[in-house]
Symmetry: none
Subunit: 194 residues, 4 copies
């Protein structure tokens, strides 16, 4: 039965997600997932044939969930600055969310596996985020909220800082104050009155 099968598939991915959350990527074995799901060894192979495949599927689900980030909670009359602030706030939440966050495993995955650098979905995510931010800044400049003579550069800069924060939060840790300070620095850099 296709539906039942789909449910089980989803169940496995959700369970596997928790395992990756806890143990990272490379330390997870098929056996770990089998045990976490409480299914048989062979049963797992009916659905997926490697931890790599499972992790990629988990990431896909994750990406779908993330798509909502921008779409919701934006009131009709929000200004560009409001939206950018909201976006950064979301990022901050993400950064500080210690134990419900796949960044660690994701980085590990991308470092441990040979992924194509030109065409992977991390790149797509990065590039599309840059575009969105660029538009927001441009809109802010238009409306007089922001001052910026290189919207594209500013957008990229923001994304690199966020990336830096993200990786830093995983390797050397980062405090809430640190994040606030960096995001504030960014917003200030765009402020019209500068």
């Amino acid at each position: 039965m296709g539906e039942k099968s789909q449910n089980k598939r989803k169940y496995i991915l959700e369970t596997a997600r928790k395992v990756f959350l806890e143990k990272g990527y490379k330390n997870v074995t098929m056996k770990d997932i089998v045990e976490a799901c409480d299914i048989s060894r062979g049963g797992l192979y009916l659905y997926f044939s490697s931890t790599r495949e499972i992790f990629l599927e988990v990431l896909k689900l994750e990406a779908n969930d993330d798509d909502d980030v921008f779409g919701s909670n934006i009131s009709e009359d929000a200004t560009a600055a409001d939206i950018l602030a909201l976006f950064l706030k979301e990022q901050k939440k993400e950064l500080l969310r210690k134990n419900n966050n796949l960044s660690m495993a994701t980085y590990e995955f991308f470092f441990a596996e040979d992924m194509p650098k030109k065409d992977n979905f991390l790149k797509h995510q990065f590039d599309s985020a840059v575009k969105i931010i660029e538009k927001l800044i441009a809109a802010g400049v238009e409306s007089g909220e922001f001052y910026c003579d290189d919207c594209s550069g500013a957008a990229r800069n923001i994304m690199f800082v966020l990336e830096g924060l993200k990786v830093t939060s995983q390797t050397i840790g980062i405090t809430q104050e640190s994040v606030d300070r960096e995001l504030l620095y960014i917003m200030r850099g765009l402020a019209a009155d500068e």
Copy 2:
């Protein structure tokens, strides 16, 4: 003989470095290192007892070598802007150096292993780099080369961007133009005439 022993130790670390360079961190086994060093399995254990320990030692050596980065090639009458530009240029070289660079393995190591976040040498490196950049900027402001009302924030921002570039270069790839653009963006942000 202590000296002989030290030499062998060093030989192992240098050889292991090449292995990590080629295969990353987690994919390297004690066996790999034994084979690369062409020593006996038991022999390796006389010096090190895990890949983790070896990798940490390799990183220590690496860190010592890196200390020279700032110390050399700076002429007496270099201005703050000169020095900062030089520093960024070094960073760029590092970023683009594809195959003689342990970043990949280092990131992998920090993601795959449970490291203390408060006290690890990546943090020390980061913090001391921030301090140095901050001083440079302050000196530049003093001399009128730079304009900046939050030297500390600017320094941290630079380091986060660099970290973002570094991780990005490993996961989704980065072109020389991209690096140039980002570094230019940073320098412009400090330019006095802004």
Copy 3:
């Protein structure tokens, strides 16, 4: 429905035959046959319960088909020598027929499985072939075509040579010339003018 069921049974055997042809005996799994037949795993078990059983059934069908070998294409006034020559020609065709021939799998089957040596149908085939050849030779001697003072021995000798050729063709290969030479040698041995 019995008839429908019989058809399916036959379909499975015919499909399985192709699989054995391609992969031999021991390398074929129930899964292989299920997939080749495009039926369900459980479905196959309704008809057969092991590859061994299936192979034996395939061989039975095969044997039935082989019974025609002698019956057809023999004109009324054929002499004993003609018929023997025809028989050897058939055997030659069989020997050289590379890919539509179950010998390989059959040998493998008999070597890999513990079969009773006294009572298996290979033995029946062998023994009845010996008898037929013996009669042919006797008839040839009667008619003056052949010379032979041990028809039974000659018949067995022919069958052993054929068996040797058959196994040799599978293990170390055999050329058409080789086969011709051997068959000619046999016929010459029987020739009356020797």
Copy 4:
């Protein structure tokens, strides 16, 4: 220690031989051999990496032992007929030796594995045996013991018969009388007074 290592290697091969003798080729697993040798799983892999490899090595040893067959027990003044008779007697012994004989496993091996037909040592054995027999017959003709106008054909015929006997003895069984009868038939075919 190379010598010790060689001894163990030999011990494994001898033990494995017994296993193949008992269970054939394809039914033997690495685990079977490990258990028969009473060594560790990993230990076996230090020496061999598959049952195929082990079987090939066993066959090599076997072949070396077989080389003596012709060399020994031949008195100075033996005639060609004597030597041929001796050879056939050896073959007979081999054929009837039920449980100390790798033929079964060897055939199984050659059927189950994809071996090159042009260049495998079975072929070498076959071809060189043909040559030896041919020479023997020629010598016998020379000395007046044999009559034969196609020594080469006769030699090949003998080998094919032997091959047929060999395979037949494994698949449908063969009695001592049968073997005697066939060998006698062969010798008679060569007798000068025919």
